[in-house]
Symmetry: C2
Subunit: 185 residues, 2 copies
């Protein structure tokens, strides 16, 4: 248990969401934020319009369910990636045109600092060039939310599913037949 | 290769999406359909309003990218589940209140006929009762799209990521730096 905690603490995974439009993308971007948090990332950086609804909603979730998940907005993804690369992050761009994720599984498991880039609108060619790896979760059209989930699952080798969030006000008691929730504070 | 194909052929996985409203849920439901198809399910049954935009969009994807994915609508999820149970399907309801998915991994890998139920709006208590298993992909709030992806990945043990879709008109050539697409027909 100690080792597992330590491993989680030692790693930094940030999601960069390329492209967000207020109202139109609200729900899908919120799904991306929630998945990033639930499956072990520390932060999401959203490239696009600053969206108070998404930000407040996400902060509310974190206050209630615990952890330290952060949400930020930026107008310049190139600046953000540049800064993160300088800090030692590898940039992994999830795209249906990339190499199969299986080819990168060892790198994902062993890297301490990872930025996972997920698109919404059409991604600029430069993103392919600026990324260290362009990888695909199937080469079929589907969903950036699903791709993010599968890749986080590979990064944390399935252990993220049992992650405990500190300072939660509420926690689910897993059950086969009922909704059981425990108040903690 | 022969064995893998055979295993895929021998199994039936159907997704039942509980709750869909025209326009409001269009994008999220489309993501669910695309993920179901890309990660190896044969069919999605949508409980709610018949949505031509979602249906046509999905049929277009299948014509272009191959495979035999089906999309259906129903007004009665109880009837649909009843019929499927009679045919030998087990019903697995994905909910943050359920038992951890890890507890069910052997069952998922070995069952030949599975219905995966995913919610959108609040799910009726009866769904918990009618399902054979209520399972969670983390007990944190996140996304039914992500939960579906992780569970399909467990059902097919990661092999779904390499699935080849027959009769495709177009196929991606995986690459680390460019968008490469091959026309097949």
């Amino acid at each position: 248990m100690y080792l597992r905690k330590k491993r989680h603490m030692a790693r930094e995974v940030i999601v960069l969401r390329y492209g967000h439009r207020v109202i139109r993308d609200e729900r899908v971007t919120s799904h991306c934020c929630l998945v990033a948090r639930a499956l072990g990332a520390q932060k999401i950086i959203i490239v696009g319009e600053r969206d108070k609804v998404v930000k407040k909603g996400m902060e509310k979730v974190t206050r209630k369910w615990g952890g330290k998940f952060k949400i930020e907005f930026t107008n310049s993804w190139t600046n953000s990636l540049h800064r993160l690369k300088k800090k030692g992050f590898i940039v992994v761009h999830l795209t249906m045109y990339g190499l199969p994720i299986s080819a990168l599984s060892k790198t994902l498991e062993n890297s301490k600092k990872i930025v996972l880039v997920i698109g919404s609108k059409k991604v600029e060619r430069r993103m392919f060039e600026k990324s260290d790896y362009n990888v695909s979760v199937t080469s079929q059209p589907h969903s950036e939310i699903a791709a993010l989930a599968i890749v986080l699952d590979r990064v944390f080798s399935g252990k993220e599913l049992g992650k405990v969030f500190r300072n939660a006000k509420i926690r689910v008691i897993p059950s086969n037949g009922k909704k059981l929730v425990k108040k903690l504070q």
